[in-house]
């Protein structure tokens, strides 16, 4: 009975997620504008890194995945406040299945959003092969799961208040995105920043994606080590999310 219910829930949520294409189109527009205008102009200003445009473009893909993961957490908080969560909690599925469904939704939405921009980057950089495409998608999926596990875990702690969650996510994105190699390599950072970035898993996700695509390989961290960190992040945050969801989560206060 469990699998069919999971499928039902997944279908139901996906229908809602894709009901409005505005967000997906916005993401593509965001990428197009940032890559073709902002990135292009910025790459002319950057003199220390050749091909900065593609470095920047792959960073945008990580940023898009980060946004989808944040959205998943936010959606979870919203569902608690809108009364949807308590309904889901009353349905005959386990909390673990519920968490898994959340992850799957995030992964599917993210893949839909990052696929076209990824193909654009691979084609324009001349690095497109089925292998680089598949490998890049795997890395982006791992990154999404890792960040999403973290965001859903946070949302479980903070879902009593939107403001707390917003502040945590805003602070986290400030730290995780800025102190990472999403937009610039370790070699260009002042030493303190470089140390902070090296302890940030997003750095490893971004560099692993670039290694999968084959961009600026000389300034990247060791791909094997990066892959280990990303996989560890994934497993760690998924367990964390599972743990929080099965032990902490309950419907919002009622009279």
């Amino acid at each position: 009975m469990g699998r069919s219910q999971l499928t039902s829930l997944l279908k139901f949520d996906l229908r809602e997620a894709f009901d409005s294409v505005a967000f997906t189109v916005y993401d593509w527009f965001f990428f197009g504008f940032q890559f073709f205008i902002y990135g292009e102009i910025l790459s002319k200003l950057v003199i220390t890194l050749p091909n900065y445009l593609f470095y920047y473009g792959t960073g945008l893909l990580i940023l898009m995945s980060f946004n989808v993961a944040s959205w998943s957490g936010r959606r979870f908080v919203e569902s608690a406040h809108e009364g949807r969560l308590r309904y889901l909690l009353s349905l005959p599925i386990t909390r673990g299945e519920m968490f898994l469904e959340q992850l799957l939704i995030g992964v599917i939405i993210n893949l839909t959003r990052v696929l076209p921009p990824l193909v654009v980057i691979l084609l324009l950089s001349g690095l497109y092969t089925p292998y680089t495409l598949a490998l890049s998608l795997v890395v982006l999926t791992l990154c999404t799961i890792g960040i999403m596990g973290l965001m859903v875990s946070l949302s479980v702690i903070a879902f009593k208040s939107f403001d707390i969650y917003s502040a945590i996510v805003a602070s986290l994105s400030a730290i995780l995105i800025r102190f990472s190699t999403v937009n610039y390599p370790i070699s260009s950072m002042p030493s303190g920043y470089a140390d902070a970035s090296l302890s940030n898993p997003v750095t490893y996700g971004a560099d692993l994606l670039r290694a999968a695509v084959g961009i600026n390989t000389s300034v990247l961290l060791d791909p094997a080590f990066a892959a280990t960190v990303v996989i560890a992040l994934c497993i760690g945050t998924v367990f964390l999310g599972m743990f929080f969801l099965s032990t902490v989560v309950e419907g919002v206060k009622s009279s």
Partner: protein, 265 residues
């Protein structure tokens, strides 16, 4: 004016003020949330600005800080406008229509609240930026605050247009992000006009330099570099904002009229 009319006017002003307060309180609802947002912008200045400076031929930090202030002001003004969007969805607008305030008064209050939101947030960022760019600690900087208000009022007008276009739905946020990206991207907020000129045809380059956001960022840079500020730029910003304000008034009026007539938008 009869006593009765005077009372009505005073009541309407009070109601408008309350609407404005509610709009603003949505954005500035908790000190620590604003603190977090400000910290986010500071981290932009101090991390992205400094790292990019290491990667570029120009001192990008001094160029970037005014850009962050302008983009923060922009985001704040549109976010206050989002309160109207939520109000349309949550039935708050219907409540406002039951208050002693005219449709014009309600529209005006919403646009002014966006204007004030942008001004307050932009001023906070400007105050913080003075620490990193000491030359901004100039009496001329005070003249920039009214400029923020004028631009933010125009942005309040844009928020009204977005509310009309998004039909009160979730798309407001998407449209707001899109407009923000286009208006900031097609300006000199984040990159110098020389690079833009090399990338776009001259017609587009001219339009970008006339963008009010370019003008505000340019004014801030002029102050930071102890250069004279352009009064023509001020005039341009003023004219554009007035037009956007008027268009915004028409849009909100239409939206509220619709809510009044059919109960929803």
């Amino acid at each position: 004016m009869s006593t009765e009319q005077t009372v009505v006017t005073i009541r309407e002003r009070q109601a408008m003020f309350r609407v404005l307060q509610v709009d603003l309180s949505y954005f500035f609802r908790t000190k620590w949330l604003i603190g977090t947002l400000v910290a986010l912008n500071i981290s932009d200045m101090l991390v992205a600005g400094l790292v990019y400076t290491n990667m570029m031929s120009i001192n990008y930090f001094y160029f970037f800080v005014p850009g962050v202030i302008v983009s923060g002001m922009f985001a704040a003004a549109l976010d206050v406008g989002r309160r109207v969007n939520l109000g349309l969805n949550e039935g708050v607008t219907q409540y406002y229509l039951s208050l002693p305030v005219s449709l014009n008064g309600l529209s005006f209050a919403h646009i002014v609240s966006a204007g004030l939101g942008g001004t307050i947030y932009g001023s906070i960022l400007l105050g913080v930026a003075v620490i990193f760019v000491p030359k901004l600690a100039s009496p001329i900087t005070l003249a920039i605050v009214p400029l923020f208000f004028i631009v933010s009022m125009g942005l309040g007008g844009i928020a009204a247009i977005l509310n009309l276009v998004s039909k009160g739905g979730d798309r407001y946020w998407v449209f707001a992000q899109g407009v923000q990206m286009i208006l900031l991207g097609m300006s000199t907020v984040f990159y110098p006009i020389s690079e833009i000129g090399a990338f776009f045809p001259s017609l587009v380059t001219n339009a970008i330099s006339l963008n009010p956001l370019s003008q505000v960022a340019g004014t801030l840079r002029n102050v930071a570099n102890s250069e004279p500020i352009s009064l023509t730029g001020f005039g341009l910003v003023f004219a554009t904002s007035i037009i956007l304000f008027l268009v915004g008034m028409i849009c909100y009026r239409y939206v509220f009229q619709k809510v009044w007539e059919v109960g929803k938008f």
